[in-house]
Symmetry: C2
Subunit: 636 residues, 2 copies
C-alpha cells in the first residue's frame, strides 16, 4: 500500500483547506445542533424532539470520514477528541450482538432488519465502516475499526445464503463498497465475500423486497416508488444494461460492483459495469457530470433527457460518480474514466459547496430563473435559488466534504511496475514500484492552467512505466521528457500517454494541455440544448450569471466564432479565477413595447458577456444563471 | 335581443356538427356511466360506489348547456327527452328552500355552505343556471329555469350584507357570470345585484374564508393552497392588478366582473378588468391562447413564464379566456379582445378536443416528448401524451362542447345603431338596428382563407355603422364596399373598420385578410422561446409533429427566410387543411457516434419539414410535438 499523495498547493490545496477550516466545523455544528451526534446516546424518548432519523448515523459517519482525511496531513488534537467522543458513544450504543443504529435501537427496536427496501440500516452501516477505515488509516485508531468489524460480522451472520440467514440486500446501496474498504483495511476475506453477496443477490427472484413486504403484512405491489428499478433491484445486476432509478443509489451500487470485480477479477461483473458506464456517459450525464435529472425519483428518466432549469442533479450523485469513475480506473486504465471523474469533480460536485465552504446545494441545475426553486417550480417573486446552511436530508454537506478529503486518493493509481497520474495537482507522492521507493513531485496550476510537471525521484533506477492521462477535452496535448518533446501518437493509448523507461532521479516529465475556450454542443437528441452551446475551458464548465450579464440570459446569442478572451481580473471569490469574456448579441428590447408576440423581425444589439466557472455560481448577487446559451448557427 | 346567428357551412359548421353528433353523445355516455346523472336521484348510501362528488352537478349542467345550444338550430326530440329526464330528477331533488346539490344533499347534508373556499356549491349552482338559461333560450323550457330561479333566490337569501346573511363568495367563481345570464333572461335585478355582491365582496377584510375556516374549527393559515391568490381572493377585486392563481377560476371571475361592469356601467370595475387583461395578454398568455402554465396550482406563475413542454394550459382555461374576451368586447369595441378570443378559440381551446370529437385533453402543452406526461414528468418509455375518453375531473369535456355550441354567439355584437363582426364564418344573422330588421349573410372560408363577404339585407334603408374586426395578425387587410376598395387608414380604429352609411338591400362588404405564413417571436423575457419562432397562418398556430418530421424536433432550424409553401394535399383528418411545408436544417447525426458532448462543429443537413395546425395535433401516430422551433438568426 502506498501513502496518499500530499497536496501541497494550488487549487486543490485551497479547497482542502477550505474544507478543513470551514466545511468540517460547519457540518459539525449542524450535526450537533440538530441532535444527530447525541442520537447515539440512545436517550431519546417518544414525544421528545430530535427523534433519531434512519439517515442520521450516516451523516455523522460521513463527517468523521471527512474529518479523518484532514488528519492525514495535519494532526489536530481537538478534532481527534471530538471524533473520539463520538466513537465512545457508539461503543456504548453498540448492542452485544454487534448491531449499531441509533434510530432502530432507540426508536424502533422491534423493526431491525424488517424493511431493507425503505430503511437505511445497511446504508448507515456502510458509512460507519467507511469512516472507521478512514480514521484508522489516518490516525491508527483501532477502536472505531473494532466497532465496525463487530457490526460487519453481525451483518455477515444475518445476511447470506446460509440456513437461517436472510437473503436480503440494501434498498440504498453503500455497504458493498464499504465492505471492500474494510476488506482492504483488514485483509479479512469474509468482508469481500459479503460485499460480493450483496452485489450478486440483488434483484433475484423470488424478490427479497416482495418477501419482506409480505412478512410485514404489506402488499409489495404498493411500493411507494412503484418499481424496484428505483433502487436498481429490478433484475440481477449482470442483466442490468441501463442506469436507472435513484442516482446516488446507482452510483454506490456501481462503485461496489466495480470494487468487487476488481478484487475478484470477475470479468462478467466488470462487463456489466462497463455497459452501465457507457449508458450513463453516452445518454444520461449532464455536461457538468451532474446526474439524475428529476426530483421525482431523485434519479434517472430517459435517454438524452438532460433538462437545465429544474434539473435535480444531486450533489451526492456527482460525488458518487467521482467514486465510481475512480474505481473503474482501478480496473482499467482508460482516460474516459478519468475525464468523467474530473468533469464531475470540477463541476457538478464542487458546485454543491459555497465559496465560503459553509453552504450547500442539494440540487445543481444548469439554469436557474429567479422565483423558481431548484426543481423548476415557481415559488415566489422574491425567491432566489441559493445554497443553504443545512438540509433536512443532510446527505450532501458531509458528502462533498468527504469527497474533498479524498482528492489525494484520486490523483494516482499504481501497479507493480507502473504509476498512472489521473488528476493534476501540486502534490508530492510516494510509490513502491518494482520494489523501489519512487517520489513523484507534481507541479500544476490545474485546473486553471494546463502545464504540469512531474519530477520523478526513485531511490533506485528501475524500468517501469509512467502513465499520464491526456484529458479528452484537450485537442493538442504536448509531452516532454527531460525537455524533449515526445511524439504522442506512438505512446498514447486509451487516453493515457505511456512513458516507459529506466527512471532516474531528477527525470522530468512535462505535459502541456492547451486550454482554449471551447464551445461544446450536446447530442441532437438532447432536446434542451438544441441550438445552444456550453462554454468549457480545460475541465471547467462555465456559466453565465445575471449579476454579470443582466436578465434574459436565454436570449444571449454567441456569434459563430466568438472573440473569447480569458481575463483574471475578478474580485472577491473570483480573484485569480480565469473569467471568459466575449461579444455576443441579444434582441433589442427597446422597441418591444407591451407586446408578448410579434412578427419575427427584431434586430439584435451587441453586448459584452462574461462567463464564470459553473461551480462558483450563486456566490455573489442572486439572480438567473445559464450554462447553455444560444449560438448563431450561421446557416443560409 | 337579437337571435343568434345561424352558422350554415364551413369550418365552424363542421365543428358544431362534430359536437352535435360525436361530442355531446360521448359526454352523455360518460356522465351516465360514471354515475353523474343518477347522482341527482339522491339515492347514494355510504359505502356504495359512485359517491356524488362536489363537482358532478357542474359536469351534467355543462352537458345540458352544450346540448341546448344544438337544439337552437335543429330540434331533436330524443335529446330533449334526455334533458327533460334530468331536469325532472333535479326538480325532485330540489329542497323546499330551493337548495340543489347532489353531493351535499346525499353525502354531507350538514355541511351545506360551510366551506365556500374549497367546495364547489356556488360553482355548481352557476352551471345549473347557465344551463337553464341556455335551455330556455333554445327550446322555451321554463321548468329548469324555475328550478334555478328558486335556487338563485335561496342563494340570495343566504348570501349578502344583510343581517343574518353570510358575507361569503365562491372559492371557484362561476356564479357571478351565471347570475348575469339569469338577470338577462328574466329581467330580475336581484340577480344582477347578487352577482355584483359576489364580485365586490371578494377579498375584503375580515376575510370570509378565514372566518369560515375558524367556524369549522380549522386554522385558516393551513389553507392547502397557501394563498387566497389561488382563488383571486387575496384582495378586493378593484385592487387586483395581476392575473394570479387558478386560471379557470380567474377567467370566470374576470368574465363575471366584466359582465357586472357592462350591466352597471361601473367604470372603476371595468378599469380593473382592463388592467388584468393587459397583464394577461402582455405577460402570461401562451401563443395558443393557453393560460395557466403549471399543474401545481392549475394556474399562473410569474411574468413571461411560458414553458412549452409540461405547460399545463387547461382546456377550460382557454375556454374561459374566450368567454372573458367576448365579454370585454361587449363593453369596448377593441380588436385586441377579438384577436385574443380568436387565438384562444382556434388554438388552445380547440386542441382540447380530438378530431373525432370523442377524446379530450385536460392540459395543452406546446411541446411534447414521448415518455413524458402533459406535466413534463417522465412516466415511461412506451408512453405518449394523448387525449382521453374521459377525465376523473371532467370539467374540460363538456366545457369545450358548450364553447363550440356558443360559437354563433361570439360572431357579432350589435348596438342600437351598429353591428360589429368579430369572428368570421359562413352564417346568416338577423339584427334589429335603428328599429329595422337587418339580415347579414356572411360567407367565409375562415380560418383557412381570409376572404369574407358580408351581404347586408335591411328591411328598410337606414344609416348605421358596420364594424368589421381587422385581425391583429393581418398586416395588409383590404376592404371593399360594393366592389370599391375603401382606404382603411381613415376608417380603422382600435382594430375595427367602421363603415357608416345608409345601408341598402344587397350592399356588399368584402374584406380580404391575406394569410401568408408568419414567423412569430416571443418577448425576449419569455426564456423558453428564445432563439425560436412559432409558425402562424391567419389565426391558426402551427406545430411540428414527429409523425411528419421525425425525431429531435427541437433540433430543427428554420432558415432566416424559409420557403414556406401552403399545400392542401393532407389525408384523413388533414384533408383540405392547409399544411405548411418548408426546407429546414438539422444537425447531421451520422458522425456523432456514441458521444454525448463534443466540440460545436457539427455540420447541418437540409431536410423538409411539415407543420400542421396545433389544434389538430395528436390525432395521428403518437409522437413528439413542438410549436416553437429554432430559427437561424443569421448574425455575424
Amino acid at each position: 500500500m502506498n501513502d496518499s499523495p500530499k497536496v501541497i498547493g494550488g487549487f486543490w490545496h485551497r479547497l482542502m483547506e477550505l474544507n478543513r477550516r470551514a466545511t468540517i466545523p460547519a457540518v459539525y455544528r449542524q450535526l450537533k445542533k440538530t441532535g444527530r451526534i447525541d442520537a447515539m446516546r440512545l436517550d431519546w424518548k417518544p414525544g421528545r424532539p430530535k427523534e433519531p432519523h434512519i439517515f442520521w448515523d450516516s451523516d455523522v459517519a460521513k463527517w468523521i470520514e471527512a474529518a479523518a482525511y484532514t488528519l492525514r496531513d495535519r494532526p489536530d488534537a481537538g478534532l481527534e477528541r471530538r471524533i473520539d467522543r463520538i466513537v465512545r458513544l457508539m461503543k456504548r450504543a453498540q448492542l452485544p450482538d454487534g448491531y449499531l443504529n441509533s434510530h432502530f435501537i432507540a426508536v424502533e427496536p422491534d423493526r431491525r432488519w424488517t424493511n431493507l427496501r425503505d430503511n437505511h440500516e445497511l446504508y448507515c452501516a456502510g458509512h460507519l465502516i467507511e469512516a472507521a477505515v478512514a480514521l484508522n488509516r489516518a490516525t491508527g485508531n483501532t477502536e472505531f475499526l473494532d466497532i465496525v468489524r463487530r457490526y460487519a460480522d453481525h451483518i455477515g451472520r444475518i445476511f447470506g445464503r446460509g440456513r437461517g440467514q436472510k437473503r436480503g440486500y440494501p434498498g440504498h446501496e453503500e455497504i458493498e463498497l464499504a465492505l471492500i474498504r474494510l476488506y482492504r483495511a483488514t485483509g479479512e476475506k469474509l468482508y469481500l465475500d459479503l460485499a460480493r453477496y450483496f452485489v450478486e443477490e440483488r434483484g433475484r427472484r423470488p424478490h427479497y423486497f416482495d418477501l419482506e413486504a409480505r412478512a410485514r403484512g404489506e402488499d409489495p405491489r404498493k411500493f411507494w416508488a412503484r418499481t424496484y428499478a428505483y433502487c436498481q433491484a429490478h433484475r440481477p445486476i449482470r442483466e442490468q444494461t441501463e442506469v436507472v432509478g435513484h442516482a446516488v443509489r446507482a452510483m454506490y451500487l456501481y462503485s461496489g460492483m466495480t470494487d468487487v470485480a476488481f478484487e475478484t477479477g470477475d470479468r462478467t461483473l466488470f462487463a456489466a459495469c462497463r455497459r452501465l458506464w457507457r449508458h450513463l456517459v453516452e445518454r444520461r450525464m449532464h455536461i457538468t457530470g451532474g446526474i439524475g435529472p428529476t426530483h421525482e425519483n431523485e434519479g434517472f428518466t430517459s435517454d438524452y433527457d438532460l433538462p437545465n432549469e429544474g434539473a435535480y442533479l444531486e450533489t451526492c450523485a456527482a460525488v458518487g460518480l467521482v467514486f465510481w469513475a475512480s474505481r473503474m480506473l482501478r480496473v482499467e486504465l482508460n482516460g474516459e474514466y478519468g475525464d468523467v471523474m474530473e468533469r464531475a469533480l470540477c463541476n457538478g460536485a464542487l458546485s454543491g459547496l459555497s465559496a465560503d465552504g459553509e453552504k450547500f446545494f442539494y440540487g445543481n441545475p444548469l439554469a436557474v430563473q429567479p422565483g423558481f426553486d431548484g426543481n423548476g417550480h415557481y415559488v415566489g417573486s422574491g425567491y432566489h435559488y441559493r445554497r443553504s446552511e443545512w438540509l433536512w436530508c443532510a446527505c450532501c454537506p458531509p458528502n462533498i466534504s468527504r469527497l474533498i478529503g479524498q482528492i489525494p486518493d484520486l490523483l494516482y493509481t499504481c501497479g507493480p511496475d507502473w504509476i498512472a497520474a489521473h488528476l493534476f495537482a501540486d502534490c508530492e507522492s510516494c510509490f513502491d514500484v518494482r520494489g523501489t521507493r519512487v517520489v513523484v513531485r507534481q507541479e500544476s496550476g490545474y485546473p486553471w492552467d494546463g502545464r504540469v510537471t512531474f519530477r520523478v525521484l526513485p531511490d533506485e533506477e528501475k524500468s517501469w512505466a509512467f502513465f499520464v492521462r491526456m484529458p479528452g477535452w484537450c485537442r493538442k496535448p504536448l509531452l516532454r521528457l527531460n525537455g524533449r518533446e515526445q511524439p504522442l501518437e506512438n505512446i498514447c493509448r486509451s487516453g493515457y500517454a505511456r512513458v516507459a523507461r529506466r527512471w532516474a532521479a531528477g527525470d522530468t516529465l512535462q505535459v502541456e494541455f492547451p486550454m482554449p475556450v471551447e464551445m461544446v454542443e450536446a447530442h441532437p437528441s438532447a432536446r434542451h440544448d438544441c441550438g445552444r452551446v456550453a462554454i468549457q475551458r480545460g475541465p471547467v464548465v462555465y456559466c453565465f450569471e445575471e449579476v454579470d450579464n443582466g436578465r434574459n440570459l436565454n436570449d444571449l446569442v454567441l456569434p459563430r466564432d466568438p472573440d473569447f478572451r480569458v481575463v483574471r481580473n475578478g474580485k472577491g471569490i473570483l480573484k485569480g479565477v480565469p473569467l471568459i469574456r466575449a461579444r455576443a448579441m441579444r434582441r433589442d428590447i427597446s422597441e418591444w413595447g407591451g407586446r408578448l408576440y410579434k412578427p419575427a423581425d427584431t434586430p439584435f444589439v451587441e453586448c459584452a458577456v462574461t462567463a464564470v466557472p459553473y461551480f462558483l455560481w450563486a456566490n455573489r448577487k442572486p439572480g438567473g444563471m445559464a450554462v447553455w446559451v444560444l449560438r448563431n448557427s450561421a446557416l443560409p
